[in-house]
Amino acid sequence: MNARVTLAVMLRVLAQLRRDPRTLVLIVGVPCLLETLLKELFQGGPVFQHAGAPLLGLFPFVTMFLVTSITMLRERTSGTLERLMTMPLAKLDLLAGYGLAFAAVAVVQAAIVSLLAFGALDLHVAGPRGLVVALAVANAVLGTALGLFVSAFAQSEFQAVQFMPAIVFPQILLSGLFVDRGQMATWLRWISDALPLTYAYDALARTANDTLGTRFAVDVAVVCGSILLALALGAVTLRRRTS
């Protein structure tokens, strides 16, 4: 790995996003809109207070998963990946560059959405608000890492977009946000145990209730471990030689 090359990839990905202001507005605007809708729909009551922080913290996962899988798919189909693979660039430079770029975007996204949620929308969390933002950034990096991996299995942008509901929705349904994990059928809970977003959600819920502890540390460790695993899987799909 080489810091110069990693940084070059990060700056290049950010420059590409800067050329696309509409996407940037959507990245920040859509979670703000959803957070506002949630508040108005439940009139700021317990449902909003229960789901507000997880929405804030999980949304960057969805955004970055989508943006990354499309950007990487373009890299594969346009030939730029093939060109990079003939250059002195380590696969990890490419993956880390992507991760850092989208983490930077997630910092801005989570900061702006939390300003709105904790300010005008009057969302309350018992734990530290900064921790919600930090978890949002970690989830964004997880989304990026998974998006890099999944892009290898899509041949078109249509397919890449369809991976989003396929990979994200089941995880959110089973995370414990909608149904308490204790009330799930055993086999569903087993699946839930195996999905990284379950731990991402749990960490956010514990921050909201201020019940941080060993279980919270486990949650964070699982999310970080999942990021590394997804990056490793992504590296396996990046081949210097293709047929």
């Binding site: 070059a8 290049r12 002195p88 030689r241």
Partner: protein, 238 residues
């Protein structure tokens, strides 16, 4: 076969999607020269080029570049590659593209201006690639291949869609680079470019029909036009 070949392809066998693209191809490319790789589209030119730059999975045989196996780590800053479709970022400007690849290659920033000058795109440096014409995009892609002053330059149809003046200038550039010691392999499917090469590799259906200079080819086939020479070779007349 000489011992000083810059590129040595030995009984290369490539299968893509179940079909044999290159059955058993061998050739040598002399250093400091411009070698034209000519053949109709679908003849296996791009596959051979991909094998030489080390991105093609091969089923048999070997490819050596500058004495090392193709794709070796040490070759990655010594081999410049221009893919057939312009492989640059369409949402970035010309300058942004080249500065990015310069950072990846670890070359000084002044290499960017030099490469842009070599392909005559100084006026377009701050334009977004997606807004450029096809020919201009191809030149951005070519400039990227030139960035690191590579010892071996492999160009897959670099002059497609360019106007004649620009084509002439680029061929002059190729020869200038060859005189400085660069080895160039340039593919084309138009025979009128063959005369501009020091040496020719003619391939058809994955097989090498001939490796010769343009004059040798004329002499061997007894024709004046290289197009006719190619036909003679195909029909087994020479």
């Amino acid at each position: 076969m000489t011992d000083t070949a810059a590129v040595r392809v030995d009984r290369l066998h490539v299968v893509r999607g179940g079909a044999v693209v290159l059955p058993e191809l061998s050739c040598d490319i002399a250093p400091g020269s411009v070698t034209g790789l000519l053949g109709p589209s679908g003849s296996g030119k791009s596959t051979l080029i991909r094998a030489i730059v080390g991105v093609q999975r091969i089923a048999g045989g070997s490819v050596e570049v500058l004495g090392e196996p193709a794709g070796a780590k040490t070759l990655r800053s010594r081999v410049g590659y221009m893919t057939q479709a312009p492989s640059v970022y369409v949402d970035l400007t010309v300058g942004e593209n080249l500065r990015f690849f310069a950072r990846v290659l670890g070359v000084a920033p002044d290499a960017v201006d030099r490469a842009i000058g070599q392909v005559d795109l100084q006026q377009e440096t701050s334009r977004v690639v997606g807004r450029l014409s096809g020919g201009e995009r191809a030149r951005v892609s070519l400039a990227t291949a030139l960035l690191g002053r590579p010892d071996v330059l492999v160009l897959d149809e670099p002059t497609v869609g360019l106007d004649p003046v620009l084509r002439r200038d680029l061929w002059a550039l190729f020869h200038e680079l060859a005189q400085q010691g660069t080895t160039l392999l340039v593919s084309s499917h138009v025979m009128d470019e063959a005369d501009r090469c020091d040496s020719l590799l003619l391939i058809r259906e994955g097989r090498l029909l001939a490796q010769a200079t343009p004059d040798e080819l004329r002499a061997r086939t007894g024709t004046q036009l290289l197009d006719d020479a190619f036909l003679r070779l195909i029909e087994g007349g020479a």
